[in-house]
Symmetry: C2
Subunit: 482 residues, 2 copies
């Protein structure tokens, strides 16, 4: 890929071509590069730092709930996949295989992990002997590979980064409690940290994780009305325990299979937050995850430059000390106007302007990336004002995203109604579903939409299946996805 | 591997069989498990947490010096390796190859990265256009794979975790300054954080990194006298810049090749700190990196148990609030004596004992893992006393390790003298070297020792080559390694 091809002059408006907008904005804001390996991207510092912020917060939440991190091998022997029938069927088409190593052909092929239930199941069988070893609560931060046919930067890449929690429990009740606890942690994280409203629910059988008894997800709506599965939590029952012989002696000295769970979120969240919050001017990064929360730009004529910069640096030090992720751009070879556009495009939540007149009045100008509003505040109140504005911006972003989702989330009684909706708008449909695979497949065939999940708290319980008109077994959210 | 094989009853004394001691202690202290994949281990929570502490500190130091993290693909196309002749020669024998993916045979084989100079070189060629883009200072935390013939847990595993810094500069001077800066960061980290004294120096040509102009290392002595290369920093000159066309327009508008560096440390450090500090009772973990810095054990008869535990929990809260990584073991089904042994074996720096008499006197007992000394202090001074003792333990561990190294670090004038030394002791030899590959190879053949590095500040400059007796070109440290 030449430099020119990766260089973006103008960002395509969202309304013109949302996919083009997305690719333009992630290139122009310097978040990624295409790599020479099919479907693999390079996470450049500005996107990797978003991932680091995501990691720090989630890691804290995982540890607070008793989990510890560990690291398991990248390679998984082929025979491991064959132990859980549904698992191999689900993942086999996407596996890359190592067949040679150290100058020799391997006796058994090694897959690059697409997820680690098999490897971890094998190890848990060794580690778990008694109920005293349970619950076993482990998380792993790792790279995984799924050789996808169609890829999209951040949203679906051949290699991606994620965390995968794997836990083992004495019984179904405790494992289900864990499954729900982690789903709730993901919800709280998506909403309170990324300002992304999500729909919690259970996947239909055709959409659940290969090898799970039940899969639960949080689903978010992008600005083009498409769905992104932002996190999943699986109750695996004893499926992997039976396959890998994860047994323990219970309190009555009887052998029992452990009940296991797994749950994960990935770098796909970076793609989701861009598509939920971005606008025609570029990125809008949620304050809690933004690498730079505030950018300081000195303005005014050259003669006052040194004095202004010196005051900017003092205020910078105060903000930094208070824990704000702040930067100064005092380059002389770029105009303030250019800088305003640049940091808007990069989605920095707050811009701080300081000029000679502000100096005289002991004030400073705050500009919100979301509302565009200017606010003039006393320099002495700066830290408090910035902290307040960051909180306010987070709330505005969340409210805006929720409003957008609600505006594009229809309740339908029939497939025709759903199709009519999709002719003029794009979004989700809440509908009744009889529970048959055939009806679910027909929705996909005629609308391109798949069942996202069966929401825990739908706005309304639908009575009839949108396809066959029979009595509804579940109320389901349907939506197109990436 | 059965549970029984992984279960260690008694730790073999170091003096009897150091390798056995090492394998016993890492199993018994629950640091790792062997995995079903050749040469790959599982990093269990207690070792992974050491790695997390290492990461946090180094990451801070890297960012403080202007580096940012990024993430590059795991897979490297075969053709990339062929671009740098020395690089492919050095790494080819150790590469695992992906030849099939997504159900199809790949057109070009993909190596699993053993290190990322080639991939990053390719990307840097795209990213760097002008001197304004330099220096480019990036670090990556990642897994890498080298299909080693002989493996040793933590010290040399097929897959391991590491950081690899990759930087590009305008000229040799700036790149060499970076190379030395990172080496110094590693030295400071090894000594001030892991309490491991290291020898800084330059690798001989035969030992340098495949593709480097110059390689520098920090070398540490294990308790069996063997050497571990604890970190390396490479000045790569324009070797990779020429191979991957990393060119920039300089201040005079002329095309120039960038000068690049790379530098890394790995999970091998976990093995090193165990082998430097451990003793016959088990692990001794340096306080700054210890997952648990202090373990609190309530003692005394059952009737006072609740009261003692309640006070222990109050003191625990105080320590935790002060930032001490502290835990309480109040299990009723294990005796205090069993617990004392257990946490000694696990290498927890400080044990805190509290019993009914201590309660009466408002005191608490501190026991150092290193000296074994007991100290009775007022409960009101606990935080300060613990912080002081942690600092003291760090210093004692460093001093002890340095004393051991100095005691086993001889200066020799001839190969015979070195061989005589190795008959009774194990350790390093400082010797003159004429600079010929043949003499270096002969040392290896006759003693099993390789040149570790050419130290920057040897205790003495040696005048003659230990093999041929000709004038010495360099004073070199020789030692056996893993």
């Amino acid at each position: 890929m030449s430099n020119e091809k990766q260089f973006v002059k103008e960002i395509t408006p969202q309304g013109e071509d949302f996919s083009r907008w997305y690719l333009d904005v992630i290139k122009k804001a310097d978040l990624m590069s295409y790599s020479p390996v099919r479907g693999c991207i390079v996470f450049k510092p500005d996107s990797y730092e978003i991932w680091e912020n995501i990691q720090r917060e989630l890691d804290f939440k995982f540890k607070e709930t008793g989990h510890r991190n560990a690291y398991f091998p990248l390679f998984i022997p082929e025979s491991f996949f064959e132990k859980e029938k549904n698992h191999i069927e689900g993942f086999n088409p996407e596996l890359p295989w190592v067949t040679e190593a150290g100058g020799e052909k391997l006796e058994e092929r090694l897959a690059i992990r697409p997820t680690s239930e098999t490897m971890i199941g094998h190890m848990y069988a060794e580690w778990i002997n008694s109920y005293r070893d349970l619950p076993l609560l482990i998380n792993q931060w790792a790279n995984v590979v799924r050789w996808e046919k169609r890829t999209q930067p951040f949203l679906r890449t051949s290699e991606f980064l994620w965390q995968e929690g794997h836990t083992a429990h004495e019984d179904e009740q405790d494992a289900r409690r864990e499954t729900m606890q982690m789903l709730e942690i993901y919800r709280e994280f998506a909403e309170d940290f990324l300002a992304i409203p999500v729909i919690l629910g259970q996947k239909t059988p055709s959409e659940k994780f290969a090898g799970a008894v039940d899969t639960f997800s949080i689903e978010a709506m992008m600005k083009d009305g498409k769905a992104v599965q932002a996190g999943t939590s699986h109750y695996l029952g004893t499926n992997f325990a039976v396959a890998f012989d994860i047994k323990y002696l219970d309190r009555e000295n009887q052998h029992q299979f452990a009940h296991t769970t797994s749950w994960g979120v990935s770098t796909r969240l970076i793609g989701a937050l861009i598509m939920v919050h971005g606008d025609d001017r570029g990125l809008v990064i949620p304050p809690k995850v933004a690498p730079t929360q505030a950018i300081m730009i000195p303005i005014g004529p050259p003669k006052s430059r040194d004095q202004v910069i010196s005051r900017v640096n003092e205020l910078y030090a105060e903000l930094k000390k208070a824990g704000v992720r702040v930067k100064v751009d005092d380059r002389a070879d770029q105009s303030p106007g250019w800088k305003f556009n640049e940091y808007e495009m990069r989605g920095v939540p707050i811009r701080l302007e300081l000029g000679p007149r502000d100096m005289e009045n002991g004030q400073i100008v705050l500009v919100s990336r979301v509302s565009g509003e200017k606010k003039i505040v006393a320099q002495s109140d700066l830290v408090q004002e910035v902290e307040n504005l960051l909180a306010e911006i987070h709330q505005q972003m969340y409210d805006k995203a929720k409003q957008f989702r609600d505006d594009n989330y229809i309740s339908v009684d029939s497939l025709d109604e759903f199709k009519a909706f999709l002719e003029t708008k794009r979004g989700f449909a809440l509908a009744g579903w009889c529970g048959s695979d055939a009806c679910e497949a027909q929705v996909k065939e005629e609308t391109g939409a798949t069942s996202r999940n069966i929401p825990f708290t739908p706005s309304v319980q639908k009575q009839v299946c949108l396809v066959c008109g029979e009595t509804s077994a579940h109320t389901v959210v349907f939506g197109r996805s990436y």
